[in-house]
Each structure stands twice: as C-alpha cells, then as structure tokens.
Amino acid sequence: MKIIVCLKQVPVKDSLLKIKDDETWVHEDDLSYEINESDHYALETALRLKEEHGGEVVILTMGADRVREAIKQGLAKGAERAIHINNESFTTIDSNINAKILAAAIKTEQPDLILTGLQTDDYGSAQTGVILAEYLGLPHAGIVMEIQKQEGSIKVKRELESGWFQSVELPMPALLTIQSGINQLRYATIKGIMMAKKKEIKQPTLSDLGLSESDVAPGSSSLKFQKIYVPKKTKQTQFFEGDPKDIASQLVDKLRNEAKVF
C-alpha cells in the first residue's frame, strides 16, 4: 500500500505573533515552526498502516527551506521518502491553490491512500484535504478516528459532533482527513534519525508539476483577503496581579461578592 501524507509546518503553539505594519500577515522571521498537530497524527496513522500491511509512506509538503526540518522528522520516524515543493512565492491563505499544487504532485505518484490532518493551526480553513480529494476525483472521509484496511477498500470511523460517530466504507484510492488524538505519536529513534539522512527528498518545481505561475496566482479567486489584526475584545476582563496569595484573595472575593457563584 502506497500512502502519501501531507504535512504542513505551522508556527509553534504559544508563539508570540507580531502583526506586520501593513496588516498583510504576521512577522515570520522570528517564529519557530513545528509540524501541524493533526498532520502529525496523519503521519503516525500512515506509519502504522504501513507496518501492518506493508508498502511505503511518502511525505508531501510545500513551503520554504525551513520545512526540511519537518521532512527530516517524518523520515526519521519511518517514512520512506519525501516530496518538497519548495517555493516561497505561493505561500497563500487560499486553500484552493494549495490543494491544486498538492494534487499536481500526487497525480504522478498514484497512491492507494492520501492522509492529511483535518485542519491547520495557522489558517484553520479545514478545507485543503477535502478540496484535494475533489481535484483528484477521489472519495474522501473527513475527521477520521479509526481505519481498517480491507480488500480494495477501507472502513473508517468518522467523528460527528457531541460524541457521535459514523462508520463508513470507501473504495481505494481514497483520501482521509485525520483527527488529532487518533493514536499515540511515536518519537524518532536514533537509528531512525541516522537512516533519514540517506532518504530521498525530491524537490519538483512548479513546471515539473505541469503548473505555471498563473495557475497558483491568488488573483483569480473571488475571495479576497483584506487584512489581519488583533481581535477586539468584546468582554471586560479583570486581570489580577501580585503574589499568588494576593491574586487568590482578590479572585475569591470577586467570585463570592461580584459574580456570586457560591
């Protein structure tokens, strides 16, 4: 079974985000990056499927040079090889464009299964995986919590809201978007890190993928990004400061006498 896992690098949780003066995005130079949380689980899921059923896991990612760090981590954990579409110019908030580029890279690979995280922690549109399936003409299942491979098909458990689940069967090839928490993540071993150094990382250009700059230009979409900014607070928040004892007495006083929660 050949499995492609799409990984995205996002700013680490709790990053201090500074918005650029022109409000187009945050300052990226001073940020550290990590693999997007649900993508991590997608990778783990792919590795477990491979270990059980054989085959190979191919990492697919796009972005600047920094994403090699994410690739190395994935290869060290056990993926066989990687495809890195290295181009800074098309970092875009438009899920359609991102999916179009990923689709072009996947077409030549003919995988049995494509796994993505269900949403990224930066843009958070929760769309790229589903759009990618549509571009590839494949069936998909979103928010997946369990996968069982069968002969030519897969059975998956999808999460619905409020503790409900749906179990469905899909023919392969198919695309699944993976929910965080589907399994326990592994750590890379020293041996894995050593072996990763010899693994292949392909870096196709847009023209290698049969795409032109105009295919990935954001201008053609009717959706126009305007600006980003720090959210306006809608609530009056009282902050308590001081040593822990002071904080505790102020807080408990407010809860008792102002909020009257006891």
């Binding site: 922690d121 958070g124 929760a126 999808r158 689940f165 980003i228 909020a259 929660v261």
Partner: protein, 326 residues
C-alpha cells in the same frame, strides 16, 4: 420566487442541528443589510417533509425540500451533488451554512465542484460600502482576518457555531414548502454508510453542572490532576477538560468540553491551563463567570474571560484553594 440567500439546513433522522437556526439568523441579518432579500432554507434527506413544514415558521420566505434515497444518509458525494443542483437552479447570491463537522466534510467538495471558494468558519461580518466584509479567525483564534467576496456569486460562507444567537431569530415572516427537484441518477455514491452510533456513554451530564473546573494541556502531567481535583472539591464543582487532556487519557472522554464533546453553561467556568482553541470555546462561551489562568498572556481564553490571571497555575491554584478553605 427568486431566492437571494439560501441557508442549508442540517438534520439527522429528521432532527434539526441546533446551529441551523443560527445560520438563519445570519441570513436574516445579511438580508436586511443588503436591502431586504428573500431567504430560502434548504432541507435535504429522505422522509424529512415534517421537518420542512416545521421550519416554515422560522422566519424564512421559503423552505426548499429535496428528498431522495441517495441522500437518506449523509455522504459527502450525495450532499455535494444535491446542493450543487439546487444552487445552480435557484442561483442565490449567498449560500450560508453553519460550520458544523458535516459542513466541513462536504462543503469544500461542493464549492470546488462549482469552481468557487468557500469562506469557512466566519465569526461575523460588517457592512462596508454596501458589501459585507467577513471575519474569520486564524492562528487558533489569536488573530482575526477580514475577507470580501467579489463578483456575482453564488458566494459560499459558513459561520462558526455560536457566531449568531438563535434567540435572535425573527419569526415575523412565514414561508411555504416547495419541492426542489433533484436528479441523482448519474450520481455515484462511493461512500457506504455502515452505522451511526454514540461513542461514549455519557455518564456525566456536564450541561447541568453549576460550577466546572476545566483543565487543559497547561497542567503538563497527569499527576497534576490531583491539584485540580482539590480545587474542584473546594468549589463543589465538576471537573472537565479540553480535548488534548482527554486524548491523552488523563480524563475520560465524557468529561470533554467543546465541539466534539459537551456544551456547558455553568455559573462558574474555571479554566486552568486552557489556551482556548476555537473548538473548546464553542463549548463553554455561554458560561456565567469565566475564570482563566494561563501563562501565555496572548491565549485566546483571555478574550472571553471575566476574571484572568496570567501566571503559573502551580503557584496560583494552591493559593486559591487555601483562600477558599479560609
């Protein structure tokens, strides 16, 4: 009748998803702001005509009913194909959804098949020069981003659960049901639905709790739950958690608050080490007094907190327990 705004309702076994009416409120507001627009509400499924009739009293001009055995159970292929046909026939300017798990699963497929973008998970809009500017959150709610939709439409927008309040529904207009013809002969449903089931037996009903201590990743280790149980004890509160804590098995899944867990509105919600990702906030933002303790001053939980402490919870919580014990 020509519809300007189409809201796609969500149902399972004839039962309406509670967030559908929020999307109708969004449509009513947008309709007014655009100068009095006709609103349609689309009900999809099989044997859902009773629900459709019920919805005629919800302040829409028309309820469109699309029934077919290929959409009896939800599948992304069936729903995307059915909604596409209806949007093409009705040609509304806006198609609105509530950003539920179901919509996340099929709406991007639908819009891509129509070569349109989906503006997903918006929290509000404001009018600017006669056109709506939509806001969605990025970086897990830490930053807001504004977008506009240019051209004639149809424009597809989904709103975050809780972005509009269903209590504000204007029921002044009453509509009628119209059958929307759909042809599903050429639609191949590749997803086979096997079953729908409740995963965890809900043993605790957190929705009835008056006080809740809720813990997040910030407590760092399972052993630290003891301290949180002590706090819950002195507050006479139930204990709950954000998703990562339940994923790690530190607390059972039926103690999870958020879009995939329970929705709560206690008098006191005491959030400890919870950053406040959107998926958590939708499950608790209607709580009475919200207390947040977190070391990250930029954590989104502070945006909705009444009382806040930026600091080390391992210092603050013991002091709070001592103070409460008096």
């Amino acid at each position: 009748m020509s519809l300007d705004i189409l809201v796609v309702a969500e149902q399972r076994d004839g039962e309406l998803n509670r967030s559908t009416l929020e999307a109708v409120v969004a449509a009513q507001n947008l309709g007014k702001d655009l100068g009095g627009k006709e609103i349609g509400l689309l009900v999809l499924g099989q044997n859902v005509s009773d629900l459709a009739s019920e919805l005629t009293s919800k302040g829409v001009n028309e309820v469109l009913l699309a029934e077919h055995d290929k959409i009896a159970d939800y599948t992304p292929g069936g729903y995307a194909a059915a909604v596409k046909q209806i949007v093409e026939n009705e040609n509304p300017t806006y198609v609105l959804f509530s950003h539920t798990y179901m919509v996340r699963d099929y709406a991007p497929k639908l819009t891509t098949s129509m070569q349109k973008p989906l503006l997903s998970d918006c929290v509000r809009y404001v009018m600017d020069g006669g056109n709506p500017v939509f806001t969605r959150q990025v970086f897990q709610g830490k930053v807001d981003a504004d977008f506009v939709l240019e051209g004639d439409g149809p424009h597809f927008v989904s709103f975050q659960v809780g972005a509009f309040n269903a209590d504000n529904l204007d029921t002044g207009t009453s509509g009628s049901v119209r059958n929307a013809d759909i042809s599903m002969d050429d639609v191949e449903i590749r997803t086979k639905v096997l079953e729908i089931f409740e995963g965890v037996k809900q043993e605790v009903d957190l929705s009835k709790a008056e006080r809740i201590v809720s813990v997040g990743r910030g407590i760092k280790k399972e052993e630290n739950l003891e301290l949180m149980r002590d706090l819950a004890g002195v507050l006479d509160a139930e204990i709950s958690a954000s998703r990562p804590v339940c994923d790690d098995g530190w607390l059972p899944l039926d103690r999870q608050v958020g879009s995939s867990g329970q929705t709560v509105s206690p008098k006191l919600y005491f959030a400890v080490g919870i950053s406040g990702a959107i998926q958590h906030i939708v499950g608790m933002k209607n709580s009475g007094a919200i207390v947040a303790i977190n070391k990250d001053p930029h954590a989104p939980i502070f945006d909705i907190a009444d009382y806040a402490v930026v600091g080390d919870l391992f210092e603050v919580i013991p002091a709070v327990i001592a103070e409460l014990k008096g």
